[in-house]
Symmetry: C2
Subunit: 140 residues, 2 copies
């Protein structure tokens, strides 16, 4: 009694464009299994905060990540699109990112920052990233 997937109407062009930028790929790689707050992205990628925020907004509009406010901090996490094809491509891509050298390097820096946040002035008071299972997107 399942309902057939509405695979039309989904904008595949836009979906793939979201992956067509290295900064966004790096953000997704960091969020692969954790919910992370913006200041960590800024610290790990070493890029300006407005740039990070803009790319996160891009991913949010594309339905690939979701945000959660926690006081002053905003936490971002990956959400699986309800479109089946999109979800499969996203999963596959996340697995691919995990194999990439430079993406692994980002993850190493993230681990270090999580262990010793006090060493990064900007992270001293920030909430630590928290493991998550990628949630399913609410009805588009």
């Amino acid at each position: 009694m399942g309902m057939a997937a509405k695979s039309s109407s989904f904008n595949m062009e836009r979906f793939f464009q979201a992956f067509g930028d290295n900064t966004r790929l790096r953000l997704l790689n960091l969020m692969r299994d954790r919910e992370i707050c913006v200041c960590y992205f800024v610290e790990i990628l070493g890029q300006g905060q407005p740039k990070i925020s803009r790319h996160l907004a891009y991913l949010r509009r594309a339905g690939i990540v979701a945000a959660r406010r926690d006081g002053k901090w905003m936490h971002y996490r990956i959400v699986m699109p309800s479109n089946i094809g999109a979800a499969q491509v996203l999963s596959q891509t996340l697995a691919w990112l995990a194999e990439d050298r430079s993406m692994q390097a980002d993850r190493v820096r993230l681990s270090k920052a999580c262990c010793y946040p006090a060493k990064f002035a900007a992270l001293e008071a920030a909430p630590l990233p928290v493991p998550v299972n990628c949630s399913i997107a609410p009805e588009a």
Copy 2:
């Protein structure tokens, strides 16, 4: 025995950008299981020939398709990238395209054009698309 995949050095950004355009997605969908000559693309998509050629060149430079000359005609086919992650994402994407309504419509038009090429002035003399198995890309 086996050689480990060189997953670094591959430009993921560029790879995904190749999918970030509807014309290119339509071309890939048509090539899903056949080698097709340019005049068919032009006829089925109803777009100018230079535009089609430019997008095919884009896909070729991205290592996603290969071309074969046959007299006056150029035939294009999908090639699986040697990068494992890329190959998996490509396969997944082709399967996704097969589910999409408008992509299915393109395929229907292609089938009709193949059955009655004489009905399309431009295809009268052109070589028919030929089924292929996606070949593996030669060493990058």
